[in-house]
Symmetry: C2
Subunit: 407 residues, 2 copies
């Protein structure tokens, strides 16, 4: 990190017309291909080759290549953090966070967001064709870890000719990746912002993931993971998995405020099993639309990666050792009503970082929106991250934002 | 209630050899039958006839018939509150609460516990044969409410010749029934103990129930509810429903303490989808054993009854009106770590009872066991209820307990 700090600001870095890296590699919608000569060595001991990573970029890489922000997505996210989703036609998943003038200001920063390994939006995953059999991997896809996702991202930025990240940021599983980056590649991470996350998946969270997996596997259309071969899709099971998970993304208070016991398009209960209540209608909609954009086997693999995540496991159960001598600047964010990744988990990270004498900010944001708060309009989160990023930008010698402010 | 208070203590009431009611009716394992002349008029407007109620009794009815405690079971409970379950061979579901010398002391009280209408342990439910078609009801069974469950219990005690209850007690859905009893039949309820419950099902709780129902309905073996006719059982869907629900019965802390990230019969993760973690193994076991003792359609109907429960709905949304002029003595119990029926719901009931100038005790018990605490060894709950019941017994002129104590 030291040499980066010595870099002088690049005058062209806020120039939208500034040099982009090889447009063949860094297109608005990129695919980075890694052939048999570059296998991805997985935490399980297996290797994955060939593989590809689908990614999006936003903004302009400065001459010093020092303004890169890697955004890591959560369980069901993808690379379309700030672009229209090609399947749903909806806006990117982090609308107020990433874009011109946003905290992750695409007028200043070069933003990369890639679909995780094991995903289903263009990056190699269980839906991909197994090169040896010519058939979709299905459950022959190797089990992957958060560390594997990060390794794939490292290979991506290597291929893009990027030495290090100004910032790695993510919420939920994205936050796990941010922590993993900071732990495994400290010299390549100037700052890290893990939001609404944990350094290990809790028993309760494993439990909810397991329910989701069992729901998928219970669907007869799952066919032991080989549904593509018989042109089936375990949509009902995947919808149930999504519905169960979705409850955990919201706080009890948010559910009560948004839906309460309100009825859906009716004046009274129907004494039946239709969606009498708005919350039922909402959940069914969440489940039924989700299956259009997500692959059931990917859901199995990615939830498994989350379950397996336990950063201190490789450090004799002492989390601070995962961040020994780190020079990375951390900003840890949690939300008061997030019961999936409660503030206690954030504190566990903060204590470890303190024990490692790391540079760390910690903000618990008062919100009743539950875990999903990190994706929503949370002014305090935006202002906190804006301040943190400005301060880190100043420390790195990047230019001020358009308002001329570093704070 | 007044005339009951005037009753003199019955000297024989603690005599185990004391008179039992008609042994034909009150056997250790009773079935009360109601024929076409006594239809159960349901909240939906439909009628159910004929129907039967399976129940258990414990202890001895005193001469004044003034020592009756009705125990109401929760979603997946049944009448076997203190007797070996005929399917699982396990002890009754409330072992330290009901029995000789227990807070609900079967040496003093005559305890009745009946399977709810819509259930699957002998009481008429969707598994029963429709008298008109000769086929199992399936989804032709009428949707029932908590009020209907209570009406059926009223008919049961009428048939048993019991005018009123010394106490009605239950946890979770059992607590809903206790509240409904106290509201609908105040003159027949001397005391009521709703535990870990609410006067209305919350949005989050409806959401979890809906996930369970969708899991069942997603199982192709459900056959639109007609699985009995084709000799199938939607066991996978029902198991997933049970797994999801089971998580809500435990606190995050209890899960962490009991299971944490401990592995099941292995030293390291297997990089696969087996039950690597103890919590996974535990949940799968819960799901797979549940289907042996429970009917999937009953699960649909009973969860629906819980969702529909909103006691203030019939009282212009003013809960205190549900308890107007009540003389019933209430003891409301909640648990600090119960996030399914949090203390805020108990407080809502207590405030309403206070507004109705009711006689009410309220205890929030410090426990990390979550919603399930009400079924477990919670000494503070036992001592609280022992004290409340002794005091109520004294007020009703029942004799002291064996220790000669009323407090």
């Amino acid at each position: 990190m030291a040499d980066i700090k010595k870099e002088t600001p690049d005058e062209s870095e806020d120039n939208p017309a500034g040099r982009r890296l090889d447009p063949e590699l860094v297109s608005a919608a990129g695919i980075a291909v890694f052939d048999h000569s570059q296998p991805l060595k997985l935490g399980s001991g297996a290797s994955l080759a060939p593989y590809q990573i689908a990614y999006q970029t936003y903004g302009t890489l400065n001459k010093a290549r020092s303004n890169v922000v890697l955004v890591c997505h959560a369980l069901t996210g993808d690379q379309h953090v700030a672009t229209t989703h090609p399947v749903t036609g909806k806006d990117g998943w982090w609308p107020r966070m990433v874009g011109p003038g946003c905290p992750i200001d695409t007028d200043r920063f070069f933003v990369i967001c890639s679909n995780v390994i094991g995903g289903c939006m263009g990056t190699t995953g269980p839906e991909s064709i197994h090169p040896e059999t010519g058939l979709p991997y299905g459950l022959n896809f190797p089990v992957i870890t958060i560390g594997d996702m990060v390794k794939a991202q490292v290979n991506l930025i290597d291929q893009l000719g990027i030495a290090d990240l100004f910032c790695v940021i993510g919420g939920s599983m994205g936050g796990m990746q941010a922590l993993q980056w900071a732990s495994s590649y400290p010299e390549r991470v100037f700052s890290a912002i893990p939001i609404a996350t944990a350094a290990r998946h809790s028993s309760q969270n494993i439990a909810f993931n397991e329910v989701g997996r069992q729901a998928i596997m219970a669907d007869r259309d799952w066919h032991s993971g080989n549904y593509q071969r018989v042109n089936a899709r375990p949509n009902k099971g995947l919808a149930v998995a999504r519905m169960a998970a979705h409850i955990t993304y919201l706080s009890e208070k948010a559910l009560q405020r948004k839906f309460g016991r309100n009825l859906q398009d009716r004046d009274q209960i129907t004494y039946g099993f239709e969606a009498d209540f708005q919350i039922e209608s909402y959940l069914r909609h969440q489940g039924f639309t989700f299956v259009d954009r997500f692959d059931a086997n990917s859901y199995l693999y990615i939830t498994r990666a989350m379950d397996y995540f336990d950063l201190e496991d490789d450090f004799d159960s002492v989390l601070s050792n995962a961040f020994k001598d780190t020079k990375t600047r951390f900003c840890i964010v949690s939300f008061t009503s997030d019961w999936l990744f409660p503030t206690s988990e954030a504190r566990h990270i903060v204590h470890a970082l303190n024990a490692a004498s790391a540079n760390v900010s910690f903000v618990e944001i008062d919100s009743d929106k539950g875990h999903d708060a990190f994706l929503l309009d949370e002014p305090e989160m935006f202002s906190t991250l804006r301040g943190f990023l400005n301060s880190a930008a100043q420390a790195r010698g990047l230019s001020a934002d358009k308002a001329g402010s570093f704070a």
